[in-house]
Structure formats: structure tokens, C-alpha cells
């Protein structure tokens, strides 16, 4: 697999020089994120998240299956993510590249292992039928920081999705069509958001790196947390070493950003929900 071309020397020098003066290429402040634009599809659970030119599509659907014998009381959540070459020049179909592995693991940790969705509420009939919720993430375009964008798209899709209501009488299960009974939202324990910080030699850390900033960074630190100040995932996999105080300072910045983002997501979801007509027969 050919290596992606690294940036030219003038680009490198300019970016480092500009960052020393806290200037970013797209005119943002060091700690300014690109405001995410969330668009919802006609179906429930279909969300496209765009942060600048980085676009990610997330879609949720659910079906009922028989649970595995070792966990008869819990539902199943599976996440499928694909980095097609559509996203960027450098990705090839088939073989998972390093970036794809990093994205998949991060999504897994933030959305599944952090217990965002209450799995026990997905159980319909113990040992017989549980809901299998499938989240599919497609990265449409990568202009930097697709991890944050994908996590946001995923969590908003899970919050947007409604599953059909199910009635259980003894051993009989009746699945009600959405037109008969209003579908039910997934029960969520909490809403994690992911923030990636890039740091450079001799410059303060910046939030939401663009493509060139990501490639030239000395290291990346991803923090996923919810608005209740609980950290779900912290990932600094190498990169240049940071003093402990800087890591803790970054945590504080992330806490503030999580609150802001939570408000924005709630407002967007409310707006979209008002626009949908729910027919009650």
C-alpha cells in the first residue's frame, strides 16, 4: 500500500510558525470547534453530521433475534463502520488501514463499551427474543477529525432512532407497526461526546484538527465524556509526551465543550421531532 504523500516543507514550516502565534489555517481560534450541522433523514435513525467538510452518515436499524446463551437478558448492539476510498485519496477498499482500525476501535469504545444504550431494556422475552440494534457508519468525506464526527453522528442516530413497540403476553410476542402504535425511543444511560485535541511542539493544544493539522501534529489526545462530567474514553496513544498538568487542563476544556455540544444536540433533536407528524389513529 503506497504511503500517503507527506506535506511539503513550506507547508510544514508555515503551519508550525502560524500555530506558534495561535493562528489556524481556517481562521478558527485554537479552542474553537467547527459547529456540527446535523441533518436528519426521512427515516428515524438516519443522521448526517457535517463538521466543516468532514461528513459522516450514521444509520440505525433494529431487528429481533435470539440472544446468545451466555447473555440471555441483554440486547445486542453492533457497530459497522466503513472507510471507503470516497472519504479520502489515501484509503483503499478491502484491507483495513491504521486509520480505519483506530476509527472502529474508538467508535466501539465510545458507543458500545461505555454502555450508552441500556441493553437490558432491549430484552423482549428472556432467552428467546431480544433486539439487535445495528449502527452503520459511513464516512463520506474526511477533512480532518472524522473520529469526533463519526462518534457524534453515531450517538445522535441512536438518540433519534425509534423502535417499534412490542407487546408480550406470556410467550406470545406482538410487534406493533409504527402506524398502529408510536415507536419507542431507545433507553440511553448517558450521551457521550468525543473531542480530539492535537498538540504541536511550542504551541498550545488545539481542538478539532483539520486534515493538514492532523497530519502535522506531534500527537493527538481524544477524550470522550458526557455532560455529567463523566469521562468514558481517554486515548492518547503515543505522540510527543505531555506534562501531567496539560493533560488535566485539556480535560477541563473538554468538560466545557461537552456541555455546549449537549445543548446543541438536544435543540436540534427537538426541532426535528416537532417537524415530524405522528399520526394517531
Amino acid at each position: 500500500m503506497p504511503r500517503p504523500p507527506s506535506p511539503s516543507i513550506p507547508e510544514k514550516e508555515f503551519v508550525y510558525g502560524a500555530l506558534k502565534q495561535s493562528l489556524r489555517l481556517d481562521g478558527r481560534a485554537m479552542l474553537e470547534m467547527r459547529t456540527p450541522t446535523l441533518s436528519f433523514g426521512p427515516e428515524l435513525g438516519w443522521v448526517e453530521c457535517a463538521m466543516g467538510k468532514t461528513r459522516v452518515l450514521a444509520q440505525v436499524d433494529g431487528k429481533m433475534v435470539k440472544p446468545p446463551p451466555e447473555r440471555p437478558l441483554e440486547g445486542i448492539i453492533s457497530i459497522h463502520s466503513e472507510l471507503s476510498p470516497m472519504a479520502s485519496n489515501e484509503y483503499e477498499p478491502g484491507r483495513p488501514t491504521e486509520e480505519e482500525v483506530a476509527l472502529t476501535r474508538m467508535l466501539d469504545k465510545v458507543l458500545r463499551r461505555s454502555d450508552a444504550v441500556d441493553k437490558e431494556s432491549l430484552c423482549v422475552l428472556a432467552g428467546q427474543r431480544v433486539w439487535h440494534i445495528r449502527l452503520t457508519i459511513h464516512v463520506l468525506s474526511d477533512a480532518g477529525n472524522m473520529v469526533d464526527c463519526a462518534c457524534l453522528a453515531g450517538i445522535v442516530a441512536l438518540k433519534h432512532f425509534r423502535r417499534p413497540e412490542v407487546e408480550v403476553e406470556g410467550d406470545e410476542i406482538t410487534v406493533h407497526h409504527p402506524s398502529e402504535r408510536a415507536p419507542v425511543p431507545l433507553s440511553m444511560h448517558h450521551t457521550p461526546f468525543c473531542f480530539t485535541f492535537a498538540f504541536f511542539p511550542d504551541a498550545p493544544p488545539l481542538v478539532d484538527p483539520a486534515r493538514l493539522e492532523e497530519t502535522l501534529s506531534a500527537g493527538l489526545l481524544s477524550v470522550a465524556l458526557n455532560a455529567q462530567k463523566e469521562l468514558c474514553v481517554v486515548q492518547k496513544a503515543g505522540g510527543s509526551p505531555l506534562p501531567a498538568e496539560e493533560v488535566l487542563a485539556i480535560m477541563d476544556i473538554a468538560v466545557a465543550k461537552a456541555r455546549e455540544l449537549d445543548r446543541l444536540v438536544e435543540a436540534r433533536l427537538q426541532e426535528d421531532w416537532k417537524g415530524r407528524v405522528v399520526e394517531v389513529r
Binding site: S6, P7, S8, I9, P10, E11, F14, A18, G27
Partner: protein, 230 residues
Amino acid sequence: MSSVLPGELVPAQHVNLKLGPGLLRQSSLNGQPLVISTRAGEVHHTTNRSRWWIEGNSRRYVPAPQESVVGVVVGRSGENWKVDIGSSHTATLDGLAFEGATKRNRPNLKVGSLLFARVSLAHKDMEPELECFDAQTRKAEGHGELKGGFLVQCSLKMCRMLLDPNHFLFPLLGSRFPLESAIGMNGRVWISAKDPRQVIAIARCIEAVDPDGGGMDEAAAKKFFSTLDV
């Protein structure tokens, strides 16, 4: 100026007809030559109707001889440099194709250096070749290594617009602060100014006026420029 889609007939007729990019001559059933367009865009022709071409937009560069391009050095093979110009193959640049270069006195390029060069050979079956001087006069004519500054990627149409002396963008920016630029026909523009803020402003203006990224007209661009911190 009408816009056409691929496959449409273009009424190009002249004794010394020369067809530019996007047009193809085909012979029809009754032996008469037909000219059809192969790209989507606007049909243009010279006033005496002898030269016709299609003005379209694209991002991928196809090398054509005598065009000036901005390239990045990606390696060496023997005495030649391998330069990436954004085309389907990496181009080669002879180590001696610089002004005043001899076997003992060569320019010291590194992997990652930026160059402003001219395409000397662009054949569809061969790798493109570059040169950093005019082969006849052996003078640089502005070509060579680009030091400092920053590189902006844009669409091919934008480069052509920037090269047009009547376009508004560079005079607008230049009236505020001095700037240097090298515009490559391959969708890459090198820009340089004293203050990094000015360079960032130029880069953002180019992206905003680019037809791919919105295509601001002069009035909107003026407003946008006035909001930037320079």
C-alpha cells in the same frame, strides 16, 4: 456563450479550424466532419472563429506541454528528481535543468521541497517531464525552488481565473498588502506574504472564490475580505 454537455454538436466551422480541450472531431455518416463536445462546460471561440474550446472545471490535472506547474519533490532516482504534480504519474525533473547548473554545481533540493517548473514533455504514454528553465535561453524565467510561503489547492478553473490579468482577486488583496504568488496550472497556488495572518487571509479568499467551494463574486468577496483579521 452556450453551455454544452458531452456528446452535443458544436457548430465549429473554419478553414483552419483548431480544436482545443474538450472537443473532438468525428466523421459522420455522409462523410462530413462533425465536432462534438466531450466535456461539460461553456463553449468559447476566438473572434475569427478559428479556435474553439470548452471551458469546464475539474480538479485532476492532465499535463500539457509548456504549462507552468507547482510540484512537490518526492524522491530521487539517480540524477533526476521525482516530482508530484497531481497528475496520474509522478513527473521527472533533470537535476541539471536549472539556470546555471553544472555537474559540479547543482541546486540542493530536499524531499518535500516545492518547485515552480514548466512541463517540457507531456505525452499520454510516458511520464511527464519538467524543466526549471527555458531550454532556449537557459534562463530561469521565474521557475525554480519556492522557499517559505504556503501552498493552496484549488480547482483548475480557479487557477485559470487567477492567471487572467482581469480577475479581481489578486489586485484586491494586493491593494492591502504586498504578496507574492506562483500559480500552477495543476490546481496548486503558492502564496507568500510577510505576516502569517495575511497568508491565511489569501488562502481563505482563494477557497471562497473557487467555483468548487461556493464561487463568490466580487462584491461578496470584498465583504468577506473585510471581515478577515489582517
